[in-house]
């Protein structure tokens, strides 16, 4: 009996102490972490959307933790302790089969895109392997008053009727759009990434050559989900860049302006597009934007004069001055 008590009881006592030390005390202490500057609780609708996110296990493929590593910089600034103040249950995730969503509301602010992507991810990203969430939508003969149907492209749309989001889809999109990392005052992203990404602009005066491969890569990473790899956009939702007057214009100023500042309600070829384009001024460097512009100006049958990082820098300076 003594031996049993010693082995079972002794080891359990040791374990209980370790569990308190490594589980309970860190839990209690770190739960007190105050919210970071600008970190706000969710609105009731966003909170409901978060429940939809949790119920359907989105975090098994989408992390919400940007690591302080160069490869994570595309997803936003590193996640700080104060970002998690209102995040229970935590959704950091352990696998990144899909992109990190910590800052998705800023990176993809277009609600229309989010609805299309949830209804059928492949309607906007052909290579996507994300499950469709069509069960969060309804197909009706006619959209009720005040409800805008989801502009699902023809090959992905139901044969009859229109697609409208259920309340759950509305809440989920509200939640996704709420995912914006508030800036941390005084935080400077490590400058290591920027110079390596933009060595050509380091030599002032000499016009850096357009790097076609880099341009294609950046376009794929930042632009293709809306404007598509074909440059044709999505009819009625995201404008085409192929044959687009702004892209064909000899002067790239307006194109630079749109990329730096974003755009809403674009009017292209007498069509007004509902999609919302995010601003890239704090995301991409001058050289990167020049490469994207030049990719657009030399692809899909477009032939227009190239832009240089210096052009982008000039426009950026002008905008800063206007502020």
């Amino acid at each position: 009996m003594k031996a049993l008590l010693l082995i079972a009881g002794g080891s359990t006592l040791v374990y209980a102490m370790l569990a308190v030390l490594m589980g309970v005390i860190p839990g209690i202490e770190l739960s007190k972490t105050p919210p970071g500057p600008g970190v706000e609780p969710l609105t009731p609708l966003e909170a409901e959307g978060r429940e939809v996110y949790v119920a359907n296990g989105c975090s098994y493929c989408h992390t919400q933790q940007v690591r302080p590593l160069p490869e994570d910089a595309v997803f936003g600034r590193p996640t700080a302790a104060g970002d998690l103040a209102y995040q229970t249950p935590e959704l950091l995730g352990s696998e990144r089969n899909g992109p990190d969503l910590s800052d998705i509301g800023a990176r993809q602010p277009s609600a229309v895109w989010q609805y299309m992507h949830l209804y059928d991810p492949r309607s906007v990203v052909p290579q996507s392997i994300m499950p469709d969430f069509s069960f969060l939508f309804r197909v009706v003969a006619q959209a009720p008053a005040g409800v805008t149907p989801v502009p699902v492209p023809k090959p992905y749309a139901p044969a009859h009727g229109v697609v409208i989001p259920t309340h759950k889809a509305v809440a989920l999109v509200a939640y996704l759009l709420s995912l914006k990392q508030p800036p941390i005052p005084g935080y400077q992203p490590p400058s290591a990434a920027a110079p390596s990404a933009a060595p050509p602009s380091a030599a002032p005066g000499a016009a850096p050559a357009f790097d076609a491969a880099e341009g294609a890569k950046l376009f794929s990473a930042n632009c293709a989900v809306c404007h598509q790899a074909s440059g044709e956009g999505i009819a009625g939702v995201f404008p085409p860049l192929k044959g687009n007057a702004v892209v064909l214009a000899a002067d790239p100023t307006q194109q630079i302006h749109v990329i730096l500042e974003g755009l809403q309600g674009a009017n292209v070829g007498d069509t007004v597009y509902p999609g919302q384009m995010p601003a890239f001024k704090s995301v991409l460097s001058d050289a990167q934007i020049a490469n994207i512009i030049d990719h657009e100006r030399t692809s899909w049958g477009n032939h227009s004069p190239l832009a240089t990082p210096a052009d982008v820098a000039a426009e950026r300076a002008k905008l800063k001055h206007q502020e």
Binding site: L4, P70, K217, A224
Partner: protein
């Protein structure tokens, strides 16, 4: 049951043997059915990576609801029930006594099954306690599981307390310890009042690794300390080394959980401590593996038989999988592998290559000793090879693919490129996974034969010596 005088008699009544046999048998059948179900879900999940439209368009078929069903049912239904069934047999036999209470065993089995069924239904309806890995079941269901653990602990302790041997055989240290520690883990995980935001991340890191390392690991290690001496008819190479591994495993394992959240906002020192003790884990892992391998050494005529081969893969799975875990815990390695599919390969190398193979070895090696019915050797062999080859394909595909994925990110490719580049590896994973699943159907068939098949009286008449120290 109250009659202590009867229990003190070394000879067991036929009723006692029958009760132990029925408990071991029914636990194994339940476990095998859960294995088939949980891995069927796993195969569906694997194919969803290759064909995202496969079994889609409905909430109850969506990936994010099926994934926790696969993980929780392999953990808390297949592995837990399978291990407890063998642990009862080991406790009774190594203590030369009867199972303290078959009734408690039945209650425990009922609770395990109720928890797993309720958990499966709830998760499929999208009802969960947050997508906190391996503790997705809502708290009422987790309480049922905790009750099953408490019943099991009571029954195991009471059985060993009535032993007719001098010491407590090492196996029971591990199994009783595992059940008791897991009760603590469960309580720490269920109680919600201190887990908010970052605090919950810390608890998740703790829970995730402890549920694996202080439940499945000690249960499987304990079974190995009984099954290997039985199958090889010689005592364990070093009893003292086994005791040493017991205590080091207990002390190092609880500290390493935060290595699941390297580079996260968790305090840097907490992450660093986790890395240090992940390296320290090599001590119990190598001590344990060496002990098993040295016990098996030099008996090829016994090794190249099906039950022992399952055990051998299980021991190698423990050695390789756990050492790999240490390698993965370094920041430099995490920079490549963290958040990639490499981790999924690792978890299958351990939960499958180690735990699942040990359960199979235990069932094939020990169940016929009490039922007197052997599984067909050929079918056992096919089960072995399909499971082994399937697992190797599975783990290699995700290890290579996960490395490609991590390097794609480091090289700054557009994210979608890392998805496209994974396609062939996900296909191979689905192929390997399908082979593994097919072998589970054979296992179910074999369990049926060990239960209802023809009796082969001569096979296991020889009483082995040297198990009890």
């Amino acid at each position: 049951m109250q009659d202590i005088a009867a229990a003190a008699q070394p000879s067991l009544s036929p009723e006692d043997t029958r009760a132990l046999r029925t408990v071991f048998n029914v636990y194994t059948i339940c476990a095998a059915l859960w294995l088939v179900f949980a891995t069927f879900i796993g195969v569906i999940l694997a194919f969803k990576f290759v064909y995202p439209e496969f079994w889609a368009h409905a909430g109850w078929l969506t990936f994010g609801r099926l994934r926790p069903i696969h993980t929780n049912d392999t953990f808390y239904a297949w592995a837990s029930i399978g291990l407890v069934g063998i642990a009862y047999y080991v406790a009774a036999r190594s203590s030369r006594t009867r199972l303290y209470s078959p009734m408690l065993a039945w209650i425990g089995l009922g609770l395990f099954n109720i928890a797993a069924i309720a958990g499966t239904v709830a998760l499929d309806l999208g009802i969960n306690d947050g997508t906190l890995e391996y503790r997705e079941w809502i708290w009422p269901i987790r309480l049922v599981f905790l009750a099953a653990l408490l019943v099991t602990a009571w029954n195991l302790i009471a059985t060993v307390a009535r032993r007719n041997t001098q010491g407590i055989y090492l196996s029971n240290w591990y199994t009783i310890g595992g059940v008791l520690w897991t009760c603590i883990i469960s309580i720490v995980a269920i109680v919600p009042w201190y887990q908010y935001g970052l605090g919950q991340v810390a608890v998740s890191g703790f829970f995730m690794h402890n549920a694996v390392g202080l439940w499945f690991t000690p249960m499987a290690l304990g079974i190995l300390y009984y099954a290997i001496p039985k199958l090889f008819s010689r005592p364990i190479y070093s009893y003292a080394l086994g005791v040493f591994a017991f205590w080091t495993n207990l002390i190092f394992y609880p500290i390493i959980g935060s290595h699941h959240f390297l580079f996260s906002p968790l305090p840097w020192w907490l992450q660093t401590i986790a890395i240090v003790f992940s390296v320290a884990m090599l001590v119990p892992v190598w001590a344990g593996s060496a002990n098993y391998l040295l016990t098996m050494r030099g008996r090829p005529e016994r090794l190249y038989r099906s039950p022992a081969m399952f055990i051998l893969v299980g021991v190698l799975g423990y050695l390789i999988g756990s050492s790999q875990g240490t390698a993965e815990a370094f920041r430099s390695m995490q920079q490549i592998w963290h958040l990639t599919n490499f981790t999924v390969g690792h978890s299958h190398l351990t939960m499958y290559g180690f735990i699942t193979f040990v359960i199979w070895g235990g069932v094939y090696g020990l169940l016929p000793r009490i039922t007197g019915k052997q599984a067909n050797n050929l079918l056992m062999g096919i089960h072995f090879w399909w499971a082994t080859v399937g697992m190797i394909i599975y783990v290699l595909a995700l290890s290579i693919g996960g490395t490609v994925q991590g390097l794609d990110w480091i090289h700054g490719l557009p994210f979608i490129d890392s998805v496209v580049n994974m396609a062939p590896y996900w296909l191979w994973r689905a192929i390997g996974g399908s082979m593994m699943f097919a072998s589970h159907l054979l296992f179910l068939w074999n369990v049926w034969f060990m239960t209802y098949g023809k009796r082969q009286p001569k096979a296991f008449a020889v009483a082995s010596t040297g198990v009890t120290a």
